[in-house]
């Protein structure tokens, strides 16, 4: 097995160009929106940002999960996962507008007028400050960035030193603590960036809802990538139905996990029936937002649940990738439902809610394709690679 046998096909370059062009054009429109109606722009930006953050960090999480557990599914997508995680610098760059829009987004704890009307507790006053917000963001990105850097550089090193057992052990050893660090940092990031939109409401499972959502986002994206690459060399002879089947099963499991977390939050708050807790669902389960909630329940959970039960769908590249695209779109709707009710009682999306996600996802996919072209498409140093791509099924 040689590195040159596993270079990305030419179509990846086309995806790169398409992503960057579509993303760039949408970005120009978004910038126009940012100038003409900054408030609306930042609101659209926040939920779109959380999606591309999920694509990146979900991939990092799955990458660590694969080092921790092994499994043929993970070896097949290891390079695409690494490529997606290397977009962390892009996601860091994309965080800048959130910092610029802080005053507009986080009125509840930055606007003195609002604070006077609804004061924060002493502890919250110490935590929810702009300096704290920025300092913690630096810390989160430092943690994620360090993990991305270590897993990527060690993986490249493994391509060269295929028999290096110490290196294999190091990758395994870091994966466990790495997942804990990622989930912890993501929990705090979800609190800082999204939950603090309504500082008087709190939920301890909130971070896990985001982590499970990120796993769905990243797994869906990986299914799309693998299904698309399976039409071209070098993946054409490698990707088998059993690989897609495994990825589909994991997507099903992550979807169940997300629904479980999301429902746990609802059940506990609903049972407790405390005024300060139910505010979250009061705004989200009635009127227009109630319609969106039902859409999320049916189309993000129930329908994919039933569709993904089918073995034939999971084993068909064209069908499973359609389900995966659908899942990513529904993640966007769910993030919209999580964030927007804090700003508006209208559940109708604005034109910026269409343009900003296209801009961010387009640019993200463009740079992902660029990253994908660098190393060989398969982890040549993985000791189980031959077994993972073998055709005799056993």
């Amino acid at each position: 097995m040689n590195a040159q046998d596993y270079t990305a096909p030419a179509s990846v370059s086309r995806v790169q160009t398409a992503g960057l062009v579509v993303g760039g054009v949408a970005l120009l429109a978004a910038i126009f929106g940012a100038v003409s109606s900054p408030e609306k722009f930042y609101q659209s930006y926040l939920f779109s940002y959380m999606l591309v953050l999920g694509l990146t960090l979900g991939s990092l999480g799955l990458l660590m999960l694969q080092h921790l557990t092994g499994g043929h599914w993970g070896i097949i997508i290891r390079r695409p996962l690494e490529a997606a995680s290397r977009n962390i610098w892009l996601v860091l760059l994309m965080f800048v507008p959130i910092v610029l829009g802080m005053k507009s987004l986080y009125r509840a704890w930055l606007d003195p007028e609002k604070l006077k009307a609804e004061p924060l507790s002493a502890y919250q006053q110490g935590y929810l400050t702009s300096a704290g917000f920025l300092g913690r963001a630096v810390l989160y990105f430092a943690i994620w960035g360090a993990l991305v850097w270590l897993f990527n550089s060690w993986s490249r090193e493994q391509d060269q030193n295929r028999e290096d057992r110490a290196l294999r052990r190091r990758l395994k050893l870091l994966a466990g603590p790495g997942i804990i660090l990622y989930v912890l940092a993501m929990t705090f990031a979800a609190i800082d960036w999204v939950m603090s939109l309504s500082p008087h409401w709190a939920s301890t499972i909130y971070g896990f809802i985001f982590v499970a959502g990120q796993a769905i986002t990243a797994m869906s994206f990986m299914i799309i990538v693998v299904a698309a690459l399976s039409n071209y060399e070098p993946y054409a002879g490698i990707i088998q139905e059993r690989h897609l089947h495994d990825l589909g099963k994991l997507l099903f499991a992550f979807n169940m996990l997300w629904a479980y977390f999301d429902f746990s939050q609802l059940l506990i708050i609903w049972s407790g029936n405390q005024p300060e807790e139910i505010s979250f669902y009061r705004t989200r389960l009635y009127g227009g937002w109630g319609v969106v909630a039902v859409i999320v329940l049916i189309f993000s959970f129930a329908l994919p649940f039933l569709v993904l039960l089918s073995r034939d769908i999971k084993r068909s590249a064209s069908l499973i990738s359609k389900v995966a695209i659908w899942m990513i779109l529904m993640r966007l709707v769910d993030l919209f439902w999580m964030t927007r009710p804090e700003f508006s009682s209208s559940a109708l999306p604005t034109w910026l809610d269409i343009v900003v996600p296209i801009a961010l996802i387009g640019l993200w996919v463009g740079f992902f394709a660029l990253n994908l072209k660098q190393p060989p498409l398969l982890p040549l140093g993985d000791p189980k690679l031959a077994e993972a791509i073998a055709h005799h099924e056993h």
Partner: protein
């Protein structure tokens, strides 16, 4: 002494590796055999497909069990809380469906699992204390290190000499007749 009359059950060949039995099973299907059974010490992926095992009622049974369990779980709670023993608990509606979901979910899993396991056993007729293949002495290796392919006598294409020759042609070792002495 008169010998106990025994019937021919099939012809069985032995293989050393999963790859060999997989390829032999595929060739047997291609040669037109329909009643093929494979016995291996561990699950060999793709083998079920290769011997022509295309459809099983277990997923359907599991779905029915799951739906039945779920409906029972929800129905029981609804019947108790909203119909037979309605109680006002903190002003919540009698049909407090969010609170019913955990039990509904558990019973869905329970119903699906029971139907899957019992349905599987009913359909594959296990446990079976006696099976003709046990009469072949070397068959003991099926639980340790050998892979067995048996072409059964009820197959329309079965012919003792022809089928044995076929197994030879796909590189089976220790080809033996399987007698049913039951």
């Amino acid at each position: 002494m008169k010998e106990h009359p025994s019937q021919l059950f099939g012809v069985m060949g032995e293989f050393a590796t999963p790859e060999q039995i997989l390829s032999a099973a595929k060739q047997a299907r291609e040669a037109g055999y329909k009643h093929i059974a494979a016995y291996t010490p561990f699950p060999v992926e793709g083998l079920a497909h290769a011997i022509g095992f295309r459809w099983t009622a277990v997923p359907l049974l599991t779905l029915i069990g799951g739906l039945g369990g779920g409906l029972t779980g929800f129905g029981l709670q609804y019947w108790v809380a909203a119909i037979t023993y309605p109680m006002n608990i903190g002003g919540r509606p009698l049909n407090s469906w969010p609170a019913f979901i955990p039990v509904t979910f558990e019973l869905t899993v329970l119903g699906a699992s029971i139907f899957a396991v019992v349905g599987m056993l009913a359909l594959n007729k296990l446990p079976q204390p006696y099976h003709p293949v046990f009469n072949v002495e070397r068959f003991a290796h099926a639980s340790t290190d050998r892979f067995f392919l048996c072409i059964e006598a009820r197959d329309p294409k079965f012919n003792l000499a022809e089928t044995s020759k076929f197994l030879q042609s796909v590189a089976a070792e220790h080809i033996s007749e399987v007698k049913d002495e039951g």
